[in-house]
Symmetry: D2
Subunit: 132 residues, 4 copies
């Protein structure tokens, strides 16, 4: 299992007229968590794209328990539970302090820059093998 913890501070732009964070913005926080997790695995997403690999989202989901609010300091715990083979499943917990606000998941697969499914880069496979 790989786990990474990142922080975001809620932006006013992320709130809506209910006074809370609009739900689709959680997926952008998930992205921030995912990018940091890949950094910490020594596979920065920026470099993956520079090498011609992209990791689009095939599926995503979230459950919302309590609303996040403007200026909250939010923690995102990002986890890869199983060693990724062709597909990468990532899960997320969104917390304000100890309080669990939301949970989510995304599913990804490597595609080439022209959008065709491809195998993960060898370097990525190696690093994941060592981590799991």
């Amino acid at each position: 299992m790989i786990e990474s913890t990142s922080q975001v501070r809620v932006r006013y732009a992320e709130t809506d007229k209910m006074g809370v964070v609009y739900h689709s913005n959680y997926f952008i926080w998930f992205e921030a968590g995912r990018v940091l997790l890949l950094d910490e695995c020594d596979c920065p997403y920026r470099e993956l794209e520079e090498q011609g690999y992209m990791l689009p989202v095939l599926e995503c989901s979230a459950k919302f328990y309590r609303p996040a609010r403007f200026d909250d300091n939010i923690t995102i715990v990002t986890t890869i539970v199983e060693r990724p083979l062709l597909r990468i499943r990532i899960t997320y917990k969104v917390l304000r302090g100890e309080e669990l606000l939301a949970e989510g998941a995304t599913l990804h697969a490597f595609v080439s820059t022209d959008g065709q499914p491809i195998k993960p880069p060898a370097d990525f496979v190696d690093k994941m093998r060592k981590l799991f």
Copy 2:
């Protein structure tokens, strides 16, 4: 079953550096579909909020099959399959012409303006009873 069809034209702002629509924006299109469906049920969401009812998203999910691109004319087919009682489950299909690009679902419950769960307004219950 209630079904509503709405149209969006993809905005440049909705694309990302992969050249396709960033995944979280589909949830904003789902919102557009939901708002139109409620209009067509004669329960405009704006009026629900004016009467003190809000319908936050409790859960949401999406699967992405093919990317939407800048300037595409997108159709969102929004459906409520079962008569909503305390919770409302809504499903979405995102199409470009005949081509299915994505599918999704959201789950909602009525809450009061102070965020407490409440029963749906009587008028809403009546209208839903007639529609199902």
Copy 3:
């Protein structure tokens, strides 16, 4: 002078906790107005990009007089006052019915896909010459 009128319906996602549209979203509406104006000039922006031309924003500004709100039907009047040479200046009025909510402007120049400034395509120059 070229003028184009487009419509947007305010999305919940575009509001913030003040209960009104967050200011940066007006620039996305300006984009919608600009894309429609280029369509009406028979120079669709999608085609310009397919031919290797991009029109990034060099400058932008807006003044906000009255807030737009969720579900409002908004009219954007997009205008090119002077025949564009190397730079294109576009102005925008945002209205709710007769009521002027905001005004803005953007300045653009053609760049190639690698980001270098280039002359506008001959076809664009011709069409603009006929329109002014």
Copy 4:
């Protein structure tokens, strides 16, 4: 003069199909800079709103010199040049390292929660008097 320096890391969601940050997102970074500047003045914006004061954007503008890209570490230098009286003018510089990417400005005035112009809170006036 009051000056504050904040950091953002460019999110994938903030890019567009040109491969660079979509222009309207700079205004969201300006907000992040502004919120931190108010924190550092010991007038957190969250508390201003809790006391019934809001600071909507009356005007905003930006000039873009070089594009910001995904994963860039961006510095926002936020400045209030003159002691604010009824209106607050804030300027922004967006840098990647030493490189100036963009500049901007926003103009704000205090309004009450029902949207009426009001005088700044006495505490805010005092703190600004001491800082200038």
